[in-house]
Amino acid sequence: MSLVGEERAKNKRGIWGWLNPYHYNLERWAYTFQRVTGVAVLLYLLGHLGDTSFFVGGPTGTGPSSSSWSFIGSIFENSFGHLILVLVVLVLTFHGVNGIRLILSEFGLIMKKPSGIEYPYRPKSLGSVQKSLVWVAIAAAVVAALWTYLVLFEGMG
């Protein structure tokens, strides 16, 4: 058979299906954010490796150099740079706290044990514990980001 719409016939959602939680459950949204934030923080971290190296004079440097370091400061010590930091803290805190939820769940520690079920079915794995922990991760992320905002923009801390 030669198919006209061969690609379409494959019907794999691909990256989009992977990243798009629309129509699905809260945990699915958390899954997407866990991935995105993981990669985002990794990217930030790589950048951070670059900028911290300016403390020792950058890629070709040989030791602590205050002029090189203040060059970096002149790039990042502004509202835009601070905003990035606030975002990083937001994203990282969500990833970290949600990560703890995942570890506990994936080791079966906060999973209810299977037993008889009754209609209407409510999956035990998606119970209130999971839902509240996702909200805890979101709340923690917001609080941490706010705190960072206060520290950076209002000079607290």
Binding site: M1, G116, E118, Y119, P120
Partner: protein, 571 residues
């Protein structure tokens, strides 16, 4: 040239009977025979998944039950039309089958001591229905399907629609089939064949059956010259849920549920003072229709159907949730009623065909090399009325027997070959006749008209006049120009197979009605208002219908009576 593939054994149908046969053949042959299962739906989707209440077997002789008792109840339930040698073999084989499924992983419900639990069912003297909640057929299918994946020599043709049986020189040679996915037409040859295509309940629209339960397998056998036996006996189950016809299992009454009429009266007291709601199904269904006809039923406004109430409150909420979980789920989802809180509206519904492809006690048909098993076959252990929980059981036993017989036969045979014109003719019939055919009548409307007629004149109560009318209608419908296909694509063309199904339905409906018209007595599920009594002198015999140029030619055969002489039935 028609595409050809070859196997040693070909099993048509992947229900409980077909899968059990496949596993038995695979096991007996020790990996040597090449076994194929062909099914028009995906293998796991066979109608058998809908069976709910139980599978009968004698497991607890220490509690008083006995093989004799199971045998007697079955024969009595059949209104003495069952072949008693077959019933005897059946009850002996059954306990082993329950243990076999258990060993293969079936989650039978258990007693506190860890042994398999059993419950009451209609028409039985002891609690004998082995159950797994109320999803018995589903779990049996799952267990058999999963176990079948263990055998490397079982292959599946999933979603291949069998259109005809190939026979040459009085021997089975194979089948012709259409692969749904590609629309290709092939012949699949085999040394031995087993027809396990299930029942034909979709002759009625208010039916507990899956939509796929159309009589194409029976029709194919019929066209191949094999007689259909006892087709006039169609079981109407007392409790089909309004308005969908989904089954509310007899286990509900087995566990203590009761039928009540408009006045809240437990009317079964009048009709079966001893067994009450657990009398055999023909008795209960007739009682219900009588209540309805005498004005003690209720009417569902949306569907226009009359009904009675099935009250589950005597069972108790906890037990309903544990043992009848699926019933509760279905009632809530499809009717918006939680049976823990309110009664369910039910009425008699087409549920089972006692008749089928004529076979001997080994399941062999009159065509050499071809067996039939399960609901498609008529061995007959069900006679004029099947007892609940005996059908899945029959599928298991004759699945096993025919699988074994076919394996022995195939091991000693050369590979099949068949004259090419046979399938070329069939291909012409389907593609020139239907796929490219012309016509103005919507085949689905023909189907609707047939179902309406069957519900009107071939239901619980029948009359000579009504049946004659039904025969006329069916013959008119056969003349209509519905043999054409609006869907012009070869890929997954259900329109084409639907037309083929309707064609088979008309042929088999004609057999049902002709047999019923001829049988001037009332026996089991077949009740003639104009002949209300059983007539053993003239009618203690099986009906055999052969395909003829102008409809079925009827013949009769004797009933094997070994231990129990016909007696009047009381419940």
């Amino acid at each position: 040239m028609v595409e050809t593939s070859r196997h040693d054994i070909l099993i048509v149908g992947s229900g409980i009977a077909g899968l059990r046969a496949a596993i038995e053949a695979a096991r007996i042959s020790n990996g040597k025979l090449d076994i194929a299962v062909i099914t028009k739906v995906q293998a796991m989707r066979a109608h058998s998944v809908s069976a709910e209440g139980g599978t009968a077997a004698v497991l607890y002789p220490e509690l008083g039950d006995s093989l004799e008792s199971h045998m007697f109840d079955t024969v009595k339930g059949s209104d003495y039309l069952a072949d008693q040698d077959a019933v005897e073999r059946f009850v002996k084989e059954m306990p082993g089958e329950i243990y076999q499924l258990e060993h293969w992983g079936l989650p039978w419900s258990r007693r506190e001591d860890g042994r398999i639990a059993q419950r009451n069912f209609g028409g039985y003297t002891y609690p004998r229905a082995t159950y797994a909640e109320d999803k018995v057929g589903f779990f049996e299918m799952q267990t058999l399907y999963d176990t079948a994946t263990k055998y490397g020599n079982i292959s599946f043709y999933q979603e291949w629609f069998v259109t005809s049986i190939l026979a040459d020189g009085g021997e089975f040679k194979g089948v012709t089939a259409i692969e749904r996915k590609s629309g290709n037409f092939s012949q699949i040859l085999a040394k031995a064949g087993i027809i396990a295509t299930g029942g034909s309940g979709r002759l009625y629209s208010f039916a507990t059956y899956a939509y796929s339960s159309t009589p194409d397998g029976m029709a194919a056998a019929y066209r191949a010259g094999i007689p259909l036996k006892d087709m006039e006996f169609i079981q109407f189950h007392p409790s089909g849920l309004i308005p969908s016809g989904i089954l509310i299992t007899e286990a509900v009454r087995g566990e203590g549920g009761v039928l009540v009429n408009k006045d809240g009266e437990r009317f079964m007291k009048k009709y079966a003072p001893n067994k009450l709601d657990l009398a055999s199904r023909d008795v209960v269904s007739r009682a219900m229709m009588t209540e309805i006809e005498e004005g003690r039923g209720m009417k569902d406004d949306a569907s226009g159907l009359d009904y009675l109430n099935l009250d589950l409150s005597p069972i108790g909420g906890q037990k309903i949730k544990e043992r009848l979980s699926q019933i509760r789920e279905i009632a809530i989802k499809f009717r918006g009623i939680d049976p823990v809180e309110a009664p369910l509206p039910v009425r008699p519904v087409c549920h089972y065909v006692m008749g089928g492809i004529d076979t001997d006690i080994d399941g062999a048909t009159k065509l050499k090399g071809l067996w039939a098993a399960g609901e498609a076959a008529c061995v007959s252990i069900n006679g004029a009325n099947r007892l609940g929980a005996n059908s899945t059981a029959e599928c298991l036993v004759w699945g096993k027997i025919t699988g074994g017989e076919a394996a022995k036969y195939a091991a000693a045979r050369p590979q099949a070959s068949v004259p090419g014109e046979l399938s070329a003719l069939e291909e012409k019939r389907i593609f020139d006749g239907i796929f490219h055919g012309k016509g103005g009548t919507n085949p689905y409307e023909v189907r609707d008209a047939l179902q309406k007629e069957m519900a009107k004149d071939a239901f619980v109560f029948r009359t000579g006049d009504g049946l004659s009318q039904a025969l006329r209608t069916i013959r008119e419908l056969k003349q209509k120009d519905f043999l054409h296909c609006e869907d012009k694509s070869r890929v997954y063309n259900t329109n084409l197979s639907d037309v083929l199904e309707v064609e088979g339905m008309l042929a088999v409906a004609e057999v049902v009605v002709a047999g019923a018209l001829a049988r001037t007595e009332s026996r089991g599920a077949h009740f003639r208002r104009d002949y209300p009594g059983r007539d053993d002198k003239n009618w203690l015999k099986h009906t055999l219908a052969y395909a003829g140029p102008d409809g079925p030619r009827l013949d009769y055969s004797t009933v094997a009576i070994t231990k129990y002489q016909p007696a009047e039935r009381h419940y």
